[in-house]
Amino acid sequence: MADIIKVKATDGSEVQFINEVFSSGGMKDAYWCPGKKEVVLFFRDKVDARTKDRLNNIVGLYRDRIFNQPGGQYWSKLFCWPTKMVEWNGKTGIVVPAYDGTFFFADGNFKGKEKNGKWFASPKLRNKFLRPQDKGTWLNHFHMLIKIARAVKRLHAAGLAHSDLSYNNVLVDPPTGSACVIDCDGLVVPGKYPPDVVGTPDFIAPEVLSTRTLPVDDPNRKLPCRATDRHALAVMIYMYLLYRHPLRGSKVYDVNDEQRDEVLAMGEKALFIEHPTDRSNRVKPEQLSPAELPQGDPAKLPYTICGPYLKALFDRAFIEGLHDPDKRPSANEWEEALVKTTDLMQPCSNPNCREHWFVFDNTTKPRCPFCGTEYKGVLPVLNLYYSPSHGKFLSENYRLMVYDKQTLYMWHVNRFVVPNEKISDEDKKPVGDFHFHNGQWILINRRLPDMWDKTDNKQIPVGGYVPLTEGRKILLSAKDGGRLIVVQLVKN
């Protein structure tokens, strides 16, 4: 039995840990604290003064900025953030919370292994090795990505950059829609602490890769920063929704040297595999193994299946902004687009569908892109309008798809309510629900005091309902920011 070591952390508190390495990473060795709620990670190599200063700020100032604010508790689930810094036997260490149990495989072939994101982003691993209960639904993936985008947004808002976002540093659990950013000790503070790493293959931004051989102090050398985090985030979102890499196509850049080919394909010459006009890096599906199909083939499952909001952002990330970092969408834009896209989702009626959910494709004959099942019957689409001034309503390019037992929330009702980490508990409660009842679609009002049927010009009281018929206009709230919905019916 290894002995228990007691040391004093730099904040003066006592830290205990079991003197036995249970895991080793690239730069650090991990020791359990008694009770296994926390871990002490010691850097194997001597840590220089600048890194110590950075770590001190990460456990102090920056942690304060994020966690010790109103609503700060929300972030403790999204980050595995170092809490203390310790020194022991000339080594520098940090105390971090242990990962939540949900981020380890509970049973099956990979029992006890961390849920590295790679498992969920590769068609071969999904099709051959993961069990359905490990994979979750497509909607779960959206929920997971909303958390990731939100976490990156929070870091950036605090003036930080992660610098090494990758499958390895974001643990995920699709079935519960959870994600957690780990390895926060490498954080970059632009202008103050330069990065230790350039990133992880697949996620390194093109400009970083193509200038990697320049000396670190060369003015043309590009190092990880917020703009490169944005690239990594876009790649991650594409991969967790489409299960392939946006830049890994068939184009060969160097026949003789596959390392150089790789650096060109991900760096200087990087080209989106679904670029609308330059088709030279298209995937050749006959070169893929059967286990990589159908997800590996963009012709079968193009990125447009992610809906209009995400398509626009993917275009900015991988077409306009691929080699122009300022044009890349921010984490906040990704979060909003992901949230809005979940309002366009429909459950697939095929119980054996691989993904169970799909984004409404804006056609009169909606069908699931994953299994091809067509939607049969009447499908209500609600177009949301807001009122910039009294009596006038403008379209917001925002739609809500209706399905049986779907709920209506305050963020649909009022444009000033945003479904993010700042939302109040009161606004998280459902305010109405949709049903297919006695052969017609209805909306039941549960909590909205002034819901008004504009078409029939009558109040819909709490507990009452309104049928969703073609063209019907319903005012959800008379308050400032309150929305009007116009019903559109798709019949198939």
Binding site: G26, N109, S122, G186, D202, P224, V252, N256, E258
Partner: protein, 211 residues
Amino acid sequence: MRRLPVYILIDTSGSMKGEPIESVREGLEAMVSSLKQDPFALETAWISIITFDREVKCLLPLTALDSMQLPAITTPDSGPTHTGQALQMLCGQMDKEVQLSTPERKGDWMPLLFILTDGKPSDIQLYNKMCSEVRSRRFAGVIACAAGMKADTEPLKQLTDRVYKLDTLDSSTFRKFFTWVSNVVGEGNRSVGAADDLELPSPPSEVNVIV
């Protein structure tokens, strides 16, 4: 998707008989089962095992990690160590198995080669010739390991600059060695340093680096 071919050459000459070869087998088993839980390795790694004593055998042609079964490894009672012939077979297998890039299609990653031996080559002339052949080919890494106190590292230095020495031939040493091998196989997917070039993870403490 590019494959990462991994060639493992194992000395099965008489001196490896008994505990040493059993320990190697145990180490290999541990390596395969840990690789089979590594998503990066499962996606890309293909493994081949070649053994050499007086006879050289390709026990496992290049096989996808997820469908491979570890073959039985046998050792004769005594006899020469045909390391040169093993390298010859390796080159032949590579010519057949490793897919090169063409203008239309991306080929495999350059292979990793691990060679583990406890003695010196008996077919020294062929060995010398094959060393220069191996050196002229492109590998992602050639790692030679001299196992045991008596193992001679000099001939291995001809093959590669990366020669390591294992002092003991017990199962825990081999297990650590093969854990390191599996880390090397997964290395391409780790964070890349800002200052330096792609580097192998540092070997376990039981492995002595021969400079």
